[in-house]
């Protein structure tokens, strides 16, 4: 058992930090309102292009798709540094983490040729059309339908709480193609398709982040389907297993915690209550970090993590919450025009337990799969 970084890993982290130092504008923290904000989406296209040129956008992808076959650790170090910097890749982190790799695995040749190169160049934004008004955690009950019509599918329905939809070029859409509970298929849908309307939902988490997406007789060719009809469940499960520890939220939480403590110290406000609460939050961040590293270690060794990934996710939610609560209690001015990065962290923190599967679903998985408690009768 070893907890050290190799020389190569340390050098890679230093390279990423140097890149960020050089390429983030001076006012970056005040414009980093959230990955979905118009400023950040716009900036992400320029920034991801620069990352791609430097070989830092998709280093873990195969060479054939613009990567250099870097290992799982490189991908995670990159993700940590980007998230800790306020995620200058905007919504494109999804392309890098799981949409690209999912297309490489399940996409047709045509889909791969069309969609992967723009991702590898940092030119395109995707959104994830999963949740619906009646289908959040119970995704299998979704109602958006794709009806076969000759060589096309006609899509009708509504998606909701969709991140990045306002700026997205393409939607990774789940739609019902049959009557059974699991008769769901995936469609890669250009957002410019006639019949699609996007409406932003004002939110607590930041400008431009979540949306409603309406599909009214939106027509896509059958070739827009990813994988086979009814295969969505298997594909999504595999794709989201990468996403469960996809965002190293502990990295930003830890940075925010240290910054908040430094600010309190300067103002002689780091008193007993703050000391105890900050220490607990720090322990929560470090536990989340180690759990996540454990999953990456398994990924690197070709082991597919089971409910251990849910443990990492729950620990990350705990860390995110502990830091956000510390800041709001001891530096309340953060929420009233204070340090913009601390504010952005507070706003995004509430997403931690919701996006990529509610934390309560992770607790179910831990209870039944890891602890092996008897299942709840349904």
């Amino acid at each position: 058992m070893e907890f050290n970084w190799t020389q190569q890993q340390q050098e890679f982290r230093a390279t990423v930090r140097e890149f960020l130092e050089k390429n983030l504008p001076e006012n970056w923290e005040s414009i980093a309102h959230g990955p979905g904000s118009a400023t950040q989406s716009e900036f992400s296209k320029q920034f991801c292009g620069q990352l791609a040129e430097a070989g830092l956008l998709v280093p873990h992808w195969p060479q054939a798709w613009g990567g250099r076959d870097a290992d799982a650790w490189s991908a995670f170090i990159l993700a940590e540094e980007m998230w800790a910097a306020g995620e200058p890749r905007g919504g494109q982190y999804m392309n890098v983490n799981w949409i690209g790799p999912t297309l490489m695995r399940f996409g047709s040749k045509e889909q791969q040729q069309r969609y992967i190169p723009p991702m590898a160049k940092g030119e395109t934004i995707w959104c994830q059309g999963f949740s619906e008004p009646e289908a959040g955690s119970d995704l299998a009950s979704l109602r958006t339908r794709a009806e076969k019509s000759g060589s096309d599918y006609i899509i009708n329905g509504q998606k909701i709480w969709t991140s990045y939809a306002g700026d997205a070029d393409t939607c990774f859409l789940l739609a019902r193609t049959g009557s059974g509970k699991k008769a769901i298929s995936i469609f890669l849908v250009p957002m410019e398709t006639p019949g699609i309307t996007v409406v932003e939902i004002p939110s607590l988490i930041g400008e431009g982040d979540i949306h409603e997406v309406f599909f009214e007789n939106a027509k896509v060719p059958a070739s827009a389907m990813l994988g086979e009809e009814g295969e969505a469940w298997d594909i999504v499960r595999k794709a989201l297993s990468l996403e469960r520890v996809g965002i190293p939220r502990f990295a930003l939480a830890s940075r925010i915690l240290h910054r908040a403590v430094a600010q309190l110290k300067v103002q002689c406000r780091f008193h007993l209550g703050a000391i105890e609460q900050s220490a607990r939050a720090h322990a929560a961040c470090e536990a989340a970090r180690l759990f996540s590293y454990e999953i990456i270690d398994q990924r690197q060794k070709g082991i597919i993590a089971g409910a251990e990934a849910s443990v990492a996710r729950v620990a990350t939610v705990n860390a995110e919450r502990a830091v956000a609560e510390f800041v709001v209690e001891h530096l309340p001015e953060t929420l009233s025009g204070g340090d913009p990065l601390l504010l952005a962290h507070h706003q995004r923190g509430i997403v931690a337990g919701i996006a990529s599967g509610a934390a309560e679903i992770q607790l179910n998985l831990i209870a039944t799969q890891l602890i092996q408690l008897p299942r709840e009768p349904r």
């Binding site: 058992m1 070893e2 780091f270 000391i275 220490a279 322990a283 536990a287 831990i366 408690l373 009768p377």
Partner: protein, 300 residues
């Protein structure tokens, strides 16, 4: 970064598991607060397990792993300090060890041959004359003893004292990790068998979620303890001990609650782990003490 134990660690763990196999259940009709095994202590001594951390291929991470493994047993034995503190001490101080914190009753004080004395800011070390220590009846599920006379001790220089505090924190966290996991395992077994309203208690989501949260805490304590044993860093040690004491508070309450009235009896041995965790809660100045150490070492 490699989270899998190496070959030497696997071999050591399986040798320890073999030795511990006859100590995995309390005696039939056990109804006591405390369960201590001199036989287990002797076998560990004979097997050379207390010296493992000093073998370069094994080191303190292996010692922390063994501490965690032994803490899962219903039988208490002084292992954490012997495995993790002894290699840090200058001079040959015989085991078992006990920490006497400002004169309060302490775990294994009666069995100890060496006492680590904490008096205010000072840390010292003394031979433990058995006539100077009295056994104390206690709920804590460890054999507890109290020093009854003034002892002469050798104060440790500040740097050495600080180092010992770091290793005491690591020892506490490693022991807590094993206690937490064993307590969780005991409760899981009960929740899988005991039926109410026609179904196992463990199938109720209200129980499942709390058990899952406790599991996340327990596993976090283990990783933080192992990381601290690896890094030997004062900040890591403080974080591990803090998370251990923080988690123990929550887990102990929840597990007794899940056991219902059975958790109030001495028939079901949950208290062997939970009341040991309660003993660890106040050590090294409790959560407040660990938080101060985190502030000093991590937020400098």
């Amino acid at each position: 970064m490699d989270f899998a134990p190496n070959e030497d660690q696997i071999a050591l763990n399986s040798a320890l598991e073999k030795l511990a196999s006859k100590f995995t259940s309390p005696p039939t009709d056990f109804r006591q607060f405390n369960l201590y095994s001199e036989e287990l202590d002797q076998q560990l001594e004979l097997g050379g397990f207390f010296d493992a951390a000093e073998i370069p291929e094994l080191g303190p991470v292996s010692a922390a792993m063994m501490t965690e493994q032994l803490a899962r047993l219903p039988y208490a034995v002084e292992s954490a300090l012997s495995m993790l503190i002894k290699p840090q001490l200058k001079g040959d101080w015989p085991r078992p060890y006990a920490v006497v914190d400002n004169g309060r009753p302490s775990r294994f004080a009666k069995q100890a041959k060496t006492l680590i004395i904490i008096e205010k800011e000072q840390v010292g070390i003394a031979a433990a004359p058995s006539e100077a220590v009295e056994s104390v009846d206690s709920l804590f599920a460890y054999p507890m003893g109290k020093v009854s006379q003034k002892l002469e001790y050798t104060p440790l220089p500040k740097t050495e004292a600080n180092k010992i505090r770091v290793w005491m924190r690591i020892a506490l966290a490693a022991e807590a990790a094993g206690l937490l996991q064993a307590a969780l395992n005991a409760a899981t077994e009960h929740l899988s068998i005991r039926k109410q309203f026609g179904r196992p208690l463990g199938s109720f989501q209200a129980v499942q979620h709390r058990m899952a949260e406790c599991t996340v805490l327990a596993k976090g304590v283990r990783l933080l303890a192992l990381k601290a044993a690896w890094s030997e860093d004062a900040g890591d040690a403080a974080l591990a001990a803090l998370h251990a004491q923080e988690s123990a508070t929550r887990v102990v309450y929840d597990l007794h609650q899940f056991m219902g009235a059975m958790g109030m009896t001495l028939e079901f041995p949950l208290h062997l782990w939970t009341y040991r965790l309660k003993a660890l809660l106040s050590e090294l100045n409790g959560r407040g003490g660990q938080a101060q150490a985190v502030a000093t070492h991590c937020f400098a």
